[in-house]
Amino acid sequence: MPSSWPASRRAFGLPRPVLAFAPAVATTYVVASLFQTAFVLAGLYSIGARFSPMDVLRTALHDLYGLAFHGMFVSYLLLVALGFAVALPVAGAIKHWTPLKGTIIYPLAGAAMMGAMLIIAKTVFFGISLYAGTRGMGGLAGQMLAGALGGFVFGQLVKARKQ
């Protein structure tokens, strides 16, 4: 780990942006998974399916585990982490060279990363939204909101630690 980070920007021997990365990824992944569940169940509801609260809870927990550890191609959790690994440093660089504040730039980066990732995946997979909960604009917006929340958490943690 670079020793050039000033002490004010380190915690537990690590640069603070590194420590803020995991909560950002976790926030986005959990919210994104919940949105995925919600939009899939809404689709089923629209064709007449009815659910008990236990059905909803069971499906949400299934998705939280399945999207992370049971994907056929790639883990959604890993995709989110890789996406943030690119998007957050880019956002940091933009923040450094522009007057934009972290509270704006990091959520924007998270949302853009999620949107771009899902649109690229749809293009690659013959026009199919790989994540069924993102088939409509509402579902896609939900995933982008999840990305924005992760970016927001990142920005807040970095800022708080700097203070």
Binding site: V40, L41, I47, D63, L67, S75, S129, A132
Partner: protein, 351 residues
């Protein structure tokens, strides 16, 4: 379990470009469809270089192609050949049915007789299998288009259904939803995902279909009029992403499959043994498997259960279609860029 030594595998023809289906002509010739739209003729064990026809309207992107060929039940009288294919463009495509007369090794009077609606903008889940029933009507499988899976429960859409039409494409008056408002008259059954296997039992008249599940939940169903086969309300599979498709493996008002393959083997062509070269397999179903690279023999037990057996795994190729020939042998179409038609016979059989 049949050991590899129990049967003999002969390559009837190789060098086909992604073959998808095979049909048997009365004189011993075979017709084979290729994904890109060519209808080919096999004569005396040799592939005739000039195609019988090339269907220009075939959309062969992704899973699309010239998916099936069957002969009219009175082919000897009318020379009619029926084709199923995905037609259109990447932005607007559909499962379609056409027919033409086979005259002098060429397909004449080609006409489209049916088109599944609505059109879709995905290149997958076309279904695209044909089978004539004993009453002379034609069944066609139509996939859900993947992106539109809820449409499989929508009777105003043909996506995710098995349809039944007359030989000229008109709708039989006794189809189950003819008198229902906002329902497509052609629908025979619904709640299907991507049915790529279809066969009519020549003895009982029963219709069976196999369909691809998502990740798990491949199904074998007995197709009966008006039934809802459940997709996507109920399935034994999950999405490729690991997410749930539904909380339910069963749902009120939907029909459970006769059997399901979980994990998936990806069933394509379907055949049924009636007086085939294996008397011990009389009445059994044979499902070609793409991902599983095998044929699954399925016996429906009187108790309601099934007995399943993996066959021909030593062939080592994805199996796109399975048919019993008029000679009782089993013919397999392999799913390769350079695909083959294989003829399988029992060693020391009744030939």
């Amino acid at each position: 379990m049949a050991a590899p030594g129990d049967y003999r595998v002969d390559t009837l023809v190789s060098g086909l470009t992604q073959p998808m289906s095979v049909a048997f002509l009365p004189g011993g010739d075979l017709l084979v469809t290729e994904k890109r739209g060519a209808l080919r003729l096999i004569r005396n064990g040799r592939l005739i270089p000039q195609p019988v026809a090339v269907i220009d309207d075939v959309f062969d992107g992704a899973q699309g192609g010239l998916t099936d060929v069957v002969l009219h039940p009175k082919f000897g009288d009318n020379q009619l050949v029926y084709l199923a294919f995905s037609g259109g463009t990447a932005k607007a495509n559909s499962t379609r049915v056409a027919r033409g007369r086979l005259v002098d090794d060429r397909l004449r009077d080609f006409e489209e007789i049916f088109r599944a609606r609505p059109e879709k903008d995905t290149g997958v889940h076309f279904g695209g299998r044909l089978a004539f029933r004993q009453d002379g009507t034609l069944s066609v499988t139509v996939g859900d288009g993947a992106q539109y899976r809820e449409k499989a429960q929508d009777l105003s859409s043909l996506l995710g259904s098995v349809i039944r039409i007359n030989e000229d494409g008109s709708i039989p008056a006794d189809n189950p939803f003819v008198s229902r408002d906002n329902a497509r008259d052609a629908i025979w059954s619904y709640g299907h995902r991507n049915p790529q296997g279809l066969v009519v039992d020549s003895k009982t008249g029963k219709v069976y279909a196999t369909e691809h599940g998502p990740r798990g939940g491949d199904e074998l169903n007995l197709i009966e009029p008006g039934n809802n086969y459940g997709w996507p309300l109920a399935t034994h599979g999950v999405d490729y992403t690991g997410a749930a498709i539904t909380p339910f493996t069963e749902y009120p008002g939907t029909v459970q499959p006769l059997t399901h393959w979980t994990p998936s083997l990806a069933p394509s062509g379907l055949a049924l043994c009636r007086r085939c070269l294996w008397p011990a397999w009389e009445g059994d179903l044979f499902a070609g498997m793409l991902m599983g690279a095998q044929v699954q023999r399925v016996r429906l037990l009187p108790t309601g259960g099934v007995e399943r057996e993996a066959l021909f795994e030593d062939v080592g190729e994805r199996i796109r279609d399975v048919r019993f020939g008029p000679d009782g042998a089993l013919y397999l179409v392999t799913d390769n860029v350079e695909g083959r038609v294989l003829r399988i016979t029992p060693v020391g059989g009744q030939e």
